[in-house]
Symmetry: C2
Subunit: 404 residues, 2 copies
């Protein structure tokens, strides 16, 4: 465990300490699914733990829709808002203020991704707005920010960028890849695209494809942004106006889909915001849950780029293992996977429901693959992935240490 100076934030047991986000420029253009190429491509990343001399102890963690490379430890330059609140886990305000990484509970000495043994690498995804190349990056063709001239990307494109990045680090193969939600989609895609390069994958609260309802929620979120006149067809950079209102609505929709109806009832009930009675106000929040949504939206729009939200949401909706790699069959799509798979999902997650992980496990089993599925009984909906770490840790530790 690293020691902290007296003046820095206090360490917790098992913290990786203070970390700094680093940047790497890929040496050549990145070919994309849409047929275009992207150059230059910069990847923002952090690492935790030590790379073994044989470079065989690498774990890649992949973030979800609104995350970034800062997955563990304390940020050297704490942002005002952390990607840790990407899932409404606002109980951790203290942690956030200290610039704690979004998956700090899982990454560190003695944790699920144990930095005493593994070299954990976390990148900001392609299309991101937290250091990696995305729509807010400069377009070399125009000298201005891409905006919607940025190519439409896929989860596979994100994975190709990660591979090119790891090639630059001299890392040939991965002990494991893990992530929740969209992060789990990246892990699955890695195992399909580069079967010989990854030994374990741990997709958490993820799926082989969003259901129709998930596609619909994402469409609404994107529409809320693009219908905001301040979006300006995506070219809002430098205009002094950004689609903050639309982003706020998108974030509100996201938040509810990350929670469960019962956890919302538990947390907010129908408690009024200001008194024992309603105030007959049309637009002012009257209920605690209304204030909560406005508060979350307000925080999010300060730290996130609307175009990154659009591109990432689009990639999330496109993702479909069966369509992309199996001609419509999930079993065909996964038949080349060599990695051992640990799937973790949550009983109350209606956005990434357990039935999807079950379908994926069945497809893997049907092909004779090694797959383990845990449906954790937890009430917090999709958010459980970040809130129910204690039960995931022993599962993951055991899975990663199990060499048959």
């Amino acid at each position: 465990m690293q020691q902290m100076t007296q003046t820095g934030p206090k360490t917790r047991e098992g913290s990786v300490g203070v970390v700094e986000t680093q940047f790497l420029d890929l040496p050549g253009p990145l070919p994309l699914d849409c047929g275009r190429e992207l150059f230059p491509v910069r990847i923002a990343y952090e690492t935790y733990g030590s790379l073994s001399p044989t470079r065989d102890n690498v774990i890649l963690v992949c973030h979800a829709l609104s995350g970034d490379a800062h997955a563990a430890g304390y940020s050297a330059a704490p942002p005002q808002e952390s990607a840790r609140d990407g899932f409404g886990a606002d109980e951790r305000d203290v942690a956030k203020k200290a610039g704690l990484g979004w998956w700090d509970g899982m990454i560190g000495p003695g944790k699920a991704f144990d930095t005493d043994h593994y070299y954990v690498v976390s990148t900001n995804l392609l299309g991101g707005c937290r250091g990696s190349t995305g729509p807010s990056s400069l377009n070399p063709a125009t000298g201005k920010q891409y905006g919607t001239d940025f190519p439409v990307i896929t989860v596979a494109d994100m994975v190709r960028a990660q591979r090119a990045f790891l090639d630059e680090l001299g890392i040939e193969s991965l002990h494991a890849i893990s992530g929740g939600s969209l992060g789990g989609m990246q892990a699955l895609t890695w195992a399909v695209l580069y079967p010989s390069r990854v030994r374990h994958i741990v997709p958490i609260a993820s799926t082989h494809a969003l259901n129709s309802q998930g596609v619909a929620w994402n469409a609404i979120a994107r529409h809320a942004i693009t219908a905001d006149p301040d979006w300006q067809h995506g070219h809002y950079y430098g205009t002094g106006r950004a689609p903050l209102a639309g982003m706020g609505v998108a974030r509100m929709v996201g938040h509810i889909t990350y929670l469960s109806a019962s956890s919302m009832k538990e947390k907010f009930a129908r408690r009024l915001q200001r008194s024992d009675d309603i105030a007959y106000e049309l637009t002012v929040p009257e209920y605690e849950v209304e204030s909560y949504l406005h508060h979350q939206a307000g925080k999010f729009v300060k730290r996130f780029d609307a175009n990154t939200y659009l591109y990432t949401s689009r990639a999330l909706s496109y993702f479909d293992l069966a369509r992309e790699y199996g001609g419509g069959s999930l079993a065909v799509a996964v038949r080349n996977i060599e990695a051992k798979t640990l799937l973790i999902c949550f009983s109350s997650d209606w956005l990434y429901p357990p039935e999807n992980s079950e379908a994926l496990a069945q497809a893997l089993e049907a092909c004779g693959k090694s797959v383990e599925l845990h449906v954790i009984d937890a009430p917090y909906g999709h958010d459980s992935f970040l809130l129910e770490e204690a039960r995931q840790i022993p599962m993951i530790r055991k899975f990663l240490s199990d060499e048959l």
Copy 2:
């Protein structure tokens, strides 16, 4: 059954035929929960069947968020869009084009609300935009449309307006009141406020109070509208701009909450809109479900007023029998009810979940009231209320004819 002319739309078996919406102005000011009074108040209404000489065969039907007074038969002046598609029941396009009422399957000779026996009255709710006084009506104080100068109203205010309206018709007591969703809230409120004036209530797919998640969806829908700069703080009338974009987002959110995840999967799966492959388009709908949402939003904004949506959504969220009439206790709130109650709800309705109807039934039972609860196993979510008429009809007919 009325006969139609050759040139009019064809009648169906059991149709009430061609009907015309009528209007009535209340004689005096309407006192409101917020402490203000409203005057003048006009009520748009339709009637089906014949009033008995003793005026004891009246059934009041109450519409939901986006409905209107045109509940049954063919409109004499068919609107371009019907309130019937208020719940995404777009399978009935033919019926809608003929101007069919939103509850035509339930109202007519031999139907649930049998016009061979009952005189069915349907009003557009207070705050509405389809003939009754609402925020798009002229404010006598300014000579301009109210906009957000319209007072914030409650479900009880809607019920008070209905009572004053029925007083004008010379109707003292009601054989029954029924409605789905917000309509059911009006039925419940009638039974609490005016126990001696109503003999049966049939709240369908309704609740004694929205859950936290329902409050949240409504808050998002309202925020999408009020964050649209074209809303102009509610004073958009006559400006040539209306918050159509925000309304569209609100409607999209509403639509998904009216469906169930499984019925969406059944209806849309992940079918692409235009080809066998994705088109790498950021903003153009790629999936059928995306096109569906855009289509529904586009239709809705043509026929509905944004401020009415705001006020009605607010009333819907406020509604809370226990808070309003029971000092926090549902059992106390319902103890003065004299009407017999038939509650119908649907297994897949996650917006108005069966557990709420069950809680209401328990509270009524605890007070020794006559209550019957049917949970219909149906896959269409909240929409089931309009799509599963066949199973409701015999329940309602039996309930209404049962005089102990």
